[in-house]
Amino acid sequence: MNLTLHVWRQAGPDAPGKMVIYEATGVSPEMSFLEMLDVVNEGLTERGEVPIAFDHDCREGICGSCSLMINGVAHGPMRGTATCQLHMRSFKDGDTIYIEPWRARAFRVIKDLAVDRSPLDRIIQAGGFITAPTGSAQDANNILVAKESVDDAMDAAACIGCGACVAACPNASASLFTAAKITHLGLLPQGQSERYRRALKMVQQMELEEFGSCTLHGECQEACPKEISIDTITRMNRDFLRASLLGTRP
Protein backbone atom coordinates (compact mmCIF):
# COMPACT_ATOMS: atom_id res chain seq x y z
CA MET A 1 0.00 0.00 0.00
CA ASN A 2 0.98 3.63 -0.55
CA LEU A 3 0.59 6.30 2.08
CA THR A 4 1.09 10.02 2.46
CA LEU A 5 2.79 10.95 5.71
CA HIS A 6 2.76 14.36 7.33
CA VAL A 7 5.64 14.23 9.78
CA TRP A 8 6.86 16.78 12.33
CA ARG A 9 10.49 17.61 11.57
CA GLN A 10 12.58 19.62 14.00
CA ALA A 11 16.38 19.61 13.92
CA GLY A 12 16.89 20.19 17.63
CA PRO A 13 15.28 21.37 20.87
CA ASP A 14 15.53 25.05 20.02
CA ALA A 15 15.23 24.81 16.25
CA PRO A 16 11.92 25.72 14.61
CA GLY A 17 9.94 22.74 13.37
CA LYS A 18 7.31 22.07 10.73
CA MET A 19 5.17 19.34 9.22
CA VAL A 20 6.84 17.78 6.16
CA ILE A 21 5.09 15.56 3.62
CA TYR A 22 6.58 12.18 2.59
CA GLU A 23 5.25 9.46 0.34
CA ALA A 24 5.59 5.96 1.79
CA THR A 25 5.41 3.40 -1.02
CA GLY A 26 5.31 -0.38 -1.00
CA VAL A 27 4.19 -0.65 2.60
CA SER A 28 2.89 -4.10 3.52
CA PRO A 29 0.00 -4.56 5.95
CA GLU A 30 2.13 -6.93 8.07
CA MET A 31 4.65 -4.22 8.88
CA SER A 32 4.51 -2.56 12.25
CA PHE A 33 4.15 1.20 12.25
CA LEU A 34 7.79 1.58 13.27
CA GLU A 35 8.94 -0.77 10.50
CA MET A 36 7.05 1.42 8.07
CA LEU A 37 9.02 4.40 9.38
CA ASP A 38 12.25 2.36 9.09
CA VAL A 39 11.50 1.86 5.41
CA VAL A 40 10.80 5.55 4.92
CA ASN A 41 14.07 6.34 6.71
CA GLU A 42 16.03 3.97 4.47
CA GLY A 43 14.71 5.88 1.50
CA LEU A 44 15.67 9.18 3.09
CA THR A 45 19.17 7.93 3.89
CA GLU A 46 19.67 6.71 0.32
CA ARG A 47 18.68 10.14 -0.95
CA GLY A 48 21.18 11.71 1.44
CA GLU A 49 18.49 13.24 3.64
CA VAL A 50 18.39 13.16 7.44
CA PRO A 51 16.22 10.24 8.63
CA ILE A 52 13.25 10.90 10.90
CA ALA A 53 14.18 10.55 14.58
CA PHE A 54 11.72 8.61 16.75
CA ASP A 55 12.02 6.74 20.03
CA HIS A 56 11.83 2.95 20.21
CA ASP A 57 13.56 0.11 21.96
CA CYS A 58 11.88 -3.22 22.73
CA ARG A 59 9.33 -3.07 19.93
CA GLU A 60 7.22 -5.51 21.86
CA GLY A 61 5.07 -3.16 23.91
CA ILE A 62 6.89 -3.42 27.23
CA CYS A 63 9.55 -0.72 27.47
CA GLY A 64 7.49 2.42 26.91
CA SER A 65 10.02 4.01 24.58
CA CYS A 66 7.86 4.38 21.53
CA SER A 67 5.51 7.32 21.37
CA LEU A 68 3.94 9.15 18.39
CA MET A 69 0.67 10.96 18.01
CA ILE A 70 -0.82 9.21 14.98
CA ASN A 71 -3.70 11.00 13.25
CA GLY A 72 -4.40 12.89 16.43
CA VAL A 73 -4.53 9.79 18.64
CA ALA A 74 -1.74 8.80 21.03
CA HIS A 75 -0.24 5.46 19.87
CA GLY A 76 -2.66 5.45 16.94
CA PRO A 77 -6.02 3.84 16.30
CA MET A 78 -5.63 0.47 18.09
CA ARG A 79 -6.90 0.46 21.67
CA GLY A 80 -4.56 -0.81 24.37
CA THR A 81 -1.63 -0.92 21.96
CA ALA A 82 1.69 0.91 21.90
CA THR A 83 2.89 2.32 18.58
CA CYS A 84 5.42 -0.49 18.17
CA GLN A 85 2.61 -3.05 18.30
CA LEU A 86 0.42 -1.16 15.86
CA HIS A 87 0.39 -2.73 12.41
CA MET A 88 -0.17 -1.17 9.03
CA ARG A 89 -3.26 -3.32 8.51
CA SER A 90 -4.97 -0.72 10.69
CA PHE A 91 -4.65 1.67 7.73
CA LYS A 92 -5.89 1.65 4.15
CA ASP A 93 -4.05 2.14 0.89
CA GLY A 94 -4.00 5.84 0.03
CA ASP A 95 -4.42 7.01 3.64
CA THR A 96 -2.90 10.24 4.84
CA ILE A 97 -1.25 9.87 8.23
CA TYR A 98 -0.26 12.71 10.53
CA ILE A 99 2.64 11.87 12.82
CA GLU A 100 3.50 14.27 15.62
CA PRO A 101 5.54 14.14 18.82
CA TRP A 102 3.95 14.08 22.29
CA ARG A 103 3.11 17.71 23.01
CA ALA A 104 3.52 19.15 26.49
CA ARG A 105 5.46 21.97 28.03
CA ALA A 106 7.16 19.36 30.22
CA PHE A 107 8.19 17.20 27.22
CA ARG A 108 10.82 19.10 25.26
CA VAL A 109 11.28 17.96 21.68
CA ILE A 110 14.79 16.56 21.35
CA LYS A 111 14.58 15.94 17.64
CA ASP A 112 11.69 15.36 15.22
CA LEU A 113 9.38 12.92 17.01
CA ALA A 114 11.60 12.16 20.00
CA VAL A 115 10.78 14.03 23.20
CA ASP A 116 12.48 14.24 26.59
CA ARG A 117 10.38 12.28 29.06
CA SER A 118 12.73 12.65 32.03
CA PRO A 119 10.05 14.65 33.94
CA LEU A 120 8.31 11.29 34.39
CA ASP A 121 11.50 9.80 35.86
CA ARG A 122 11.68 12.66 38.34
CA ILE A 123 8.10 12.02 39.43
CA ILE A 124 9.09 8.43 40.20
CA GLN A 125 12.23 9.61 42.00
CA ALA A 126 10.06 11.83 44.19
CA GLY A 127 8.20 8.89 45.72
CA GLY A 128 7.62 5.98 43.39
CA PHE A 129 9.57 3.51 45.51
CA ILE A 130 9.49 1.71 48.86
CA THR A 131 12.13 2.04 51.56
CA ALA A 132 11.20 -1.06 53.57
CA PRO A 133 14.25 -3.35 53.50
CA THR A 134 12.92 -6.41 51.75
CA GLY A 135 16.09 -8.50 52.13
CA SER A 136 16.49 -11.59 50.04
CA ALA A 137 13.52 -13.13 48.35
CA GLN A 138 10.98 -14.43 50.83
CA ASP A 139 8.51 -17.25 50.59
CA ALA A 140 5.88 -16.22 48.14
CA ASN A 141 3.00 -16.34 50.60
CA ASN A 142 4.81 -14.93 53.62
CA ILE A 143 2.91 -11.66 53.41
CA LEU A 144 -0.71 -12.21 52.59
CA VAL A 145 -2.35 -9.69 50.28
CA ALA A 146 -6.03 -9.68 49.40
CA LYS A 147 -6.72 -10.90 45.89
CA GLU A 148 -8.55 -7.72 44.98
CA SER A 149 -5.62 -5.55 46.08
CA VAL A 150 -3.14 -7.68 44.15
CA ASP A 151 -5.27 -7.45 41.03
CA ASP A 152 -5.66 -3.69 41.25
CA ALA A 153 -2.01 -3.14 42.19
CA MET A 154 -0.82 -5.25 39.26
CA ASP A 155 -3.18 -3.49 36.83
CA ALA A 156 -1.68 -0.17 37.92
CA ALA A 157 1.85 -1.57 37.84
CA ALA A 158 1.40 -2.34 34.14
CA CYS A 159 2.29 1.30 33.36
CA ILE A 160 5.26 1.40 31.00
CA GLY A 161 5.81 5.14 31.45
CA CYS A 162 5.37 5.99 27.78
CA GLY A 163 3.63 9.31 28.45
CA ALA A 164 0.64 8.67 26.17
CA CYS A 165 -1.62 9.85 28.99
CA VAL A 166 0.10 13.24 28.94
CA ALA A 167 0.02 13.38 25.15
CA ALA A 168 -3.69 12.56 24.95
CA CYS A 169 -4.79 14.81 27.82
CA PRO A 170 -6.23 18.14 26.65
CA ASN A 171 -4.47 19.65 29.70
CA ALA A 172 -1.18 17.77 29.23
CA SER A 173 -1.67 16.33 32.71
CA ALA A 174 0.47 13.47 34.00
CA SER A 175 -2.22 12.43 36.46
CA LEU A 176 -2.72 8.91 35.13
CA PHE A 177 1.01 8.16 35.18
CA THR A 178 1.45 9.51 38.70
CA ALA A 179 -1.75 7.93 39.98
CA ALA A 180 -0.82 4.52 38.58
CA LYS A 181 2.36 4.41 40.66
CA ILE A 182 0.65 5.80 43.77
CA THR A 183 -2.05 3.13 43.38
CA HIS A 184 0.38 0.31 42.67
CA LEU A 185 2.49 0.91 45.77
CA GLY A 186 -0.31 2.20 47.97
CA LEU A 187 -2.30 -1.01 47.63
CA LEU A 188 0.51 -3.32 48.76
CA PRO A 189 1.65 -3.86 52.37
CA GLN A 190 5.26 -2.97 51.52
CA GLY A 191 4.13 0.42 50.27
CA GLN A 192 2.19 1.44 53.36
CA SER A 193 4.80 3.25 55.42
CA GLU A 194 5.28 6.04 52.87
CA ARG A 195 1.79 5.93 51.42
CA TYR A 196 0.70 9.48 52.27
CA ARG A 197 4.12 11.08 51.92
CA ARG A 198 4.40 9.43 48.53
CA ALA A 199 1.09 10.89 47.38
CA LEU A 200 2.15 14.38 48.47
CA LYS A 201 5.63 14.23 47.00
CA MET A 202 4.70 12.69 43.67
CA VAL A 203 1.83 15.13 43.15
CA GLN A 204 4.15 17.98 44.11
CA GLN A 205 6.78 16.86 41.61
CA MET A 206 4.19 16.38 38.87
CA GLU A 207 3.21 20.02 39.33
CA LEU A 208 6.82 21.26 39.53
CA GLU A 209 7.36 19.70 36.12
CA GLU A 210 4.54 21.94 34.83
CA PHE A 211 2.11 19.27 33.74
CA GLY A 212 -1.54 20.34 33.72
CA SER A 213 -4.32 19.22 36.03
CA CYS A 214 -6.98 16.56 35.63
CA THR A 215 -10.35 17.59 34.22
CA LEU A 216 -11.52 13.99 33.90
CA HIS A 217 -12.01 14.01 30.17
CA GLY A 218 -10.91 10.37 30.32
CA GLU A 219 -8.67 10.67 27.24
CA CYS A 220 -5.70 9.21 29.16
CA GLN A 221 -7.42 5.91 29.92
CA GLU A 222 -8.39 5.58 26.26
CA ALA A 223 -4.83 6.29 25.11
CA CYS A 224 -3.03 4.11 27.65
CA PRO A 225 -1.48 1.07 25.94
CA LYS A 226 -2.01 -0.79 29.22
CA GLU A 227 -5.58 0.51 29.64
CA ILE A 228 -4.96 1.76 33.16
CA SER A 229 -8.19 3.00 34.72
CA ILE A 230 -8.90 6.60 35.70
CA ASP A 231 -10.03 5.05 39.00
CA THR A 232 -6.36 5.30 39.95
CA ILE A 233 -6.70 9.09 39.70
CA THR A 234 -9.60 9.00 42.16
CA ARG A 235 -7.35 7.07 44.49
CA MET A 236 -4.48 9.54 44.07
CA ASN A 237 -6.82 12.42 44.89
CA ARG A 238 -8.10 10.54 47.94
CA ASP A 239 -4.60 9.80 49.23
CA PHE A 240 -3.52 13.38 48.58
CA LEU A 241 -6.56 14.73 50.40
CA ARG A 242 -6.05 12.38 53.34
CA ALA A 243 -2.37 13.28 53.53
CA SER A 244 -3.32 16.95 53.64
CA LEU A 245 -5.95 16.38 56.33
CA LEU A 246 -3.58 14.27 58.39
CA GLY A 247 -0.92 16.96 58.16
CA THR A 248 1.58 14.57 56.56
CA ARG A 249 4.93 16.25 55.90
CA PRO A 250 6.32 15.80 52.42
Binding site: H6, W8, M19, M69, N71, G72, V73, Y98, E100, R103, A104, R105, A106, D152, A168, P170, N171, A172, S173, V203, Q204, E207, E210, F211, G212, S213, C214, T215, L216, H217, G218, E219, Q221, E222, A223, S229, I230, D231, I233, T234, R235, M236, N237, R238, D239, F240, L241, R242, S244, G247
Partner: protein, 220 residues
Protein backbone atom coordinates in the same frame (compact mmCIF):
# COMPACT_ATOMS: atom_id res chain seq x y z
CA UNK B 1 3.17 28.20 53.47
CA UNK B 2 0.76 26.66 55.92
CA UNK B 3 -1.00 23.36 55.49
CA UNK B 4 -3.98 25.02 53.84
CA UNK B 5 -1.72 27.07 51.59
CA UNK B 6 0.17 24.08 50.27
CA UNK B 7 -3.09 22.19 49.83
CA UNK B 8 -4.68 24.93 47.78
CA UNK B 9 -1.34 25.63 46.10
CA UNK B 10 -1.57 22.20 44.50
CA UNK B 11 -3.73 21.57 41.46
CA UNK B 12 -5.20 18.48 43.11
CA UNK B 13 -6.18 20.67 46.07
CA UNK B 14 -7.79 23.21 43.76
CA UNK B 15 -9.78 20.45 42.10
CA UNK B 16 -10.95 19.24 45.53
CA UNK B 17 -12.17 22.78 46.19
CA UNK B 18 -13.95 22.83 42.82
CA UNK B 19 -15.49 19.46 43.52
CA UNK B 20 -16.76 20.36 47.00
CA UNK B 21 -18.10 23.76 45.95
CA UNK B 22 -19.66 22.18 42.85
CA UNK B 23 -21.42 19.58 44.99
CA UNK B 24 -22.72 22.32 47.29
CA UNK B 25 -24.09 23.97 44.14
CA UNK B 26 -25.72 20.72 43.01
CA UNK B 27 -27.37 20.16 46.39
CA UNK B 28 -28.75 23.69 46.26
CA UNK B 29 -29.96 23.32 42.68
CA UNK B 30 -31.97 20.21 43.54
CA UNK B 31 -33.86 22.11 46.24
CA UNK B 32 -34.13 25.18 44.02
CA UNK B 33 -35.68 23.34 41.08
CA UNK B 34 -38.19 21.58 43.33
CA UNK B 35 -39.18 24.90 44.88
CA UNK B 36 -39.54 26.61 41.51
CA UNK B 37 -41.79 23.88 40.13
CA UNK B 38 -44.42 25.12 42.60
CA UNK B 39 -45.16 27.73 39.95
CA UNK B 40 -47.25 25.04 38.25
CA UNK B 41 -49.49 24.85 41.33
CA UNK B 42 -50.41 28.50 41.02
CA UNK B 43 -49.56 31.88 42.51
CA UNK B 44 -50.50 31.01 46.10
CA UNK B 45 -48.26 27.94 46.26
CA UNK B 46 -45.07 29.58 45.04
CA UNK B 47 -45.65 32.94 46.70
CA UNK B 48 -46.23 31.41 50.10
CA UNK B 49 -43.17 29.20 49.59
CA UNK B 50 -41.12 32.32 48.80
CA UNK B 51 -42.60 34.02 51.82
CA UNK B 52 -41.66 31.06 54.00
CA UNK B 53 -38.04 31.17 52.75
CA UNK B 54 -37.79 34.88 53.54
CA UNK B 55 -39.25 34.31 57.02
CA UNK B 56 -36.32 32.05 57.92
CA UNK B 57 -34.14 35.17 58.22
CA UNK B 58 -30.75 34.14 59.51
CA UNK B 59 -30.94 30.69 58.00
CA UNK B 60 -31.63 32.22 54.59
CA UNK B 61 -28.58 34.45 54.91
CA UNK B 62 -26.40 31.58 56.09
CA UNK B 63 -27.33 29.61 52.98
CA UNK B 64 -26.83 32.65 50.75
CA UNK B 65 -23.38 33.31 52.18
CA UNK B 66 -22.35 29.68 51.79
CA UNK B 67 -23.49 29.77 48.16
CA UNK B 68 -21.76 33.05 47.38
CA UNK B 69 -18.49 31.86 48.92
CA UNK B 70 -18.83 28.54 47.06
CA UNK B 71 -19.34 30.27 43.71
CA UNK B 72 -16.38 32.59 44.30
CA UNK B 73 -14.05 29.72 45.26
CA UNK B 74 -15.31 27.63 42.35
CA UNK B 75 -14.74 30.39 39.81
CA UNK B 76 -11.33 31.46 41.17
CA UNK B 77 -10.07 27.86 41.12
CA UNK B 78 -11.54 27.36 37.63
CA UNK B 79 -9.69 30.40 36.28
CA UNK B 80 -6.40 29.42 37.93
CA UNK B 81 -6.57 25.81 36.73
CA UNK B 82 -7.52 26.87 33.23
CA UNK B 83 -4.47 29.14 33.05
CA UNK B 84 -2.18 26.38 34.32
CA UNK B 85 -3.66 23.86 31.91
CA UNK B 86 -3.30 26.17 28.93
CA UNK B 87 0.33 26.80 29.87
CA UNK B 88 0.98 23.06 30.09
CA UNK B 89 0.73 22.70 26.30
CA UNK B 90 2.17 25.78 24.60
CA UNK B 91 2.41 24.06 21.19
CA UNK B 92 -0.69 22.15 20.16
CA UNK B 93 -1.21 19.34 17.67
CA UNK B 94 -1.86 19.86 13.99
CA UNK B 95 -4.42 17.10 14.28
CA UNK B 96 -6.11 15.85 17.41
CA UNK B 97 -9.01 13.45 17.67
CA UNK B 98 -10.62 13.33 21.10
CA UNK B 99 -11.72 9.76 21.85
CA UNK B 100 -13.98 9.87 24.88
CA UNK B 101 -14.14 13.51 25.98
CA UNK B 102 -17.81 14.57 25.88
CA UNK B 103 -19.36 17.84 24.73
CA UNK B 104 -20.04 18.36 28.43
CA UNK B 105 -16.45 17.90 29.54
CA UNK B 106 -15.18 20.10 26.73
CA UNK B 107 -17.55 22.96 27.47
CA UNK B 108 -16.91 23.21 31.21
CA UNK B 109 -14.96 26.45 30.75
CA UNK B 110 -17.15 28.35 28.29
CA UNK B 111 -20.31 26.87 29.79
CA UNK B 112 -19.06 27.84 33.23
CA UNK B 113 -18.39 31.41 32.08
CA UNK B 114 -21.94 31.59 30.69
CA UNK B 115 -23.26 30.25 34.01
CA UNK B 116 -21.41 32.98 35.89
CA UNK B 117 -23.01 35.65 33.71
CA UNK B 118 -26.34 33.90 34.17
CA UNK B 119 -26.03 33.70 37.96
CA UNK B 120 -25.31 37.44 38.21
CA UNK B 121 -28.16 38.30 35.85
CA UNK B 122 -30.52 35.92 37.66
CA UNK B 123 -29.86 37.46 41.08
CA UNK B 124 -30.26 41.00 39.74
CA UNK B 125 -33.43 39.88 37.95
CA UNK B 126 -35.41 37.82 40.47
CA UNK B 127 -33.78 38.46 43.85
CA UNK B 128 -32.97 42.17 43.92
CA UNK B 129 -35.22 43.34 41.11
CA UNK B 130 -32.47 45.58 39.76
CA UNK B 131 -33.04 44.37 36.22
CA UNK B 132 -36.73 44.58 35.27
CA UNK B 133 -37.24 43.37 31.72
CA UNK B 134 -41.02 43.83 32.04
CA UNK B 135 -40.71 47.08 33.95
CA UNK B 136 -42.39 45.69 37.06
CA UNK B 137 -41.13 43.85 40.13
CA UNK B 138 -42.67 42.89 43.43
CA UNK B 139 -40.71 41.14 46.16
CA UNK B 140 -44.04 39.73 47.41
CA UNK B 141 -45.28 38.35 44.10
CA UNK B 142 -42.69 35.94 42.75
CA UNK B 143 -45.31 34.39 40.49
CA UNK B 144 -46.01 37.66 38.74
CA UNK B 145 -42.30 38.37 38.34
CA UNK B 146 -41.83 35.05 36.54
CA UNK B 147 -44.89 35.37 34.35
CA UNK B 148 -44.27 38.96 33.25
CA UNK B 149 -40.58 38.30 32.53
CA UNK B 150 -40.84 35.03 30.64
CA UNK B 151 -43.40 36.43 28.23
CA UNK B 152 -40.51 38.45 26.84
CA UNK B 153 -38.80 36.34 24.21
CA UNK B 154 -35.18 37.25 24.95
CA UNK B 155 -35.54 36.65 28.68
CA UNK B 156 -37.08 33.22 28.10
CA UNK B 157 -34.44 32.41 25.50
CA UNK B 158 -31.56 33.47 27.73
CA UNK B 159 -32.85 31.25 30.53
CA UNK B 160 -33.34 28.32 28.15
CA UNK B 161 -29.80 28.66 26.76
CA UNK B 162 -28.27 29.02 30.21
CA UNK B 163 -30.06 25.86 31.31
CA UNK B 164 -28.51 23.92 28.43
CA UNK B 165 -25.12 25.04 29.73
CA UNK B 166 -26.19 24.04 33.23
CA UNK B 167 -27.35 20.58 32.15
CA UNK B 168 -24.05 19.92 30.39
CA UNK B 169 -22.06 21.32 33.33
CA UNK B 170 -23.91 19.01 35.71
CA UNK B 171 -23.62 15.95 33.49
CA UNK B 172 -19.84 16.19 33.64
CA UNK B 173 -19.55 17.86 37.03
CA UNK B 174 -21.71 15.48 39.04
CA UNK B 175 -19.62 12.61 37.76
CA UNK B 176 -16.19 14.24 37.96
CA UNK B 177 -16.57 15.96 41.33
CA UNK B 178 -16.82 12.72 43.29
CA UNK B 179 -13.63 11.61 41.56
CA UNK B 180 -11.83 14.88 42.19
CA UNK B 181 -12.50 14.55 45.89
CA UNK B 182 -11.64 10.86 45.85
CA UNK B 183 -14.91 9.43 47.13
CA UNK B 184 -16.16 7.65 44.03
CA UNK B 185 -15.98 3.87 44.39
CA UNK B 186 -13.94 2.09 41.74
CA UNK B 187 -15.87 0.89 38.77
CA UNK B 188 -15.23 -1.56 35.92
CA UNK B 189 -16.82 1.01 33.58
CA UNK B 190 -15.77 4.45 34.82
CA UNK B 191 -17.51 6.13 31.87
CA UNK B 192 -20.97 4.82 32.74
CA UNK B 193 -22.58 7.80 34.41
CA UNK B 194 -26.24 6.98 34.87
CA UNK B 195 -26.64 8.98 38.06
CA UNK B 196 -25.18 12.19 36.65
CA UNK B 197 -27.15 11.77 33.42
CA UNK B 198 -30.38 11.42 35.38
CA UNK B 199 -29.51 14.34 37.62
CA UNK B 200 -28.56 16.59 34.70
CA UNK B 201 -31.69 15.76 32.69
CA UNK B 202 -34.07 16.21 35.64
CA UNK B 203 -32.54 19.53 36.75
CA UNK B 204 -32.38 20.79 33.16
CA UNK B 205 -35.96 19.75 32.36
CA UNK B 206 -37.29 21.16 35.63
CA UNK B 207 -35.76 24.59 35.19
CA UNK B 208 -36.38 24.79 31.44
CA UNK B 209 -40.05 23.91 31.76
CA UNK B 210 -40.80 27.19 33.54
CA UNK B 211 -39.77 29.83 30.96
CA UNK B 212 -41.11 27.57 28.21
CA UNK B 213 -44.47 27.06 29.91
CA UNK B 214 -44.87 30.78 30.50
CA UNK B 215 -43.79 31.74 27.01
CA UNK B 216 -46.24 29.39 25.29
CA UNK B 217 -48.99 30.51 27.66
CA UNK B 218 -49.45 27.37 29.76
CA UNK B 219 -48.72 29.35 32.87
CA UNK B 220 -50.23 32.84 32.90
Amino acid sequence: MGRLGSFYGSMVGKKVVMGVTGLIGIAYLILHVLGNLLVFRGPTAINSYAHFLKSTGELLWTVRIILIVAVILHVVAAVQLTQQNRAARPIGYTRREPQVATIASRTMRWGGALLLIFIIFHILHFTTGTIRPAGVFSSEDVYANMVTSFRIWWVALFYVIAMVALGLHLFHGAWSSVRSIGVSPKSPQPFHRTVSLLLAVLVWAGFTSIPVAVFVGLVR
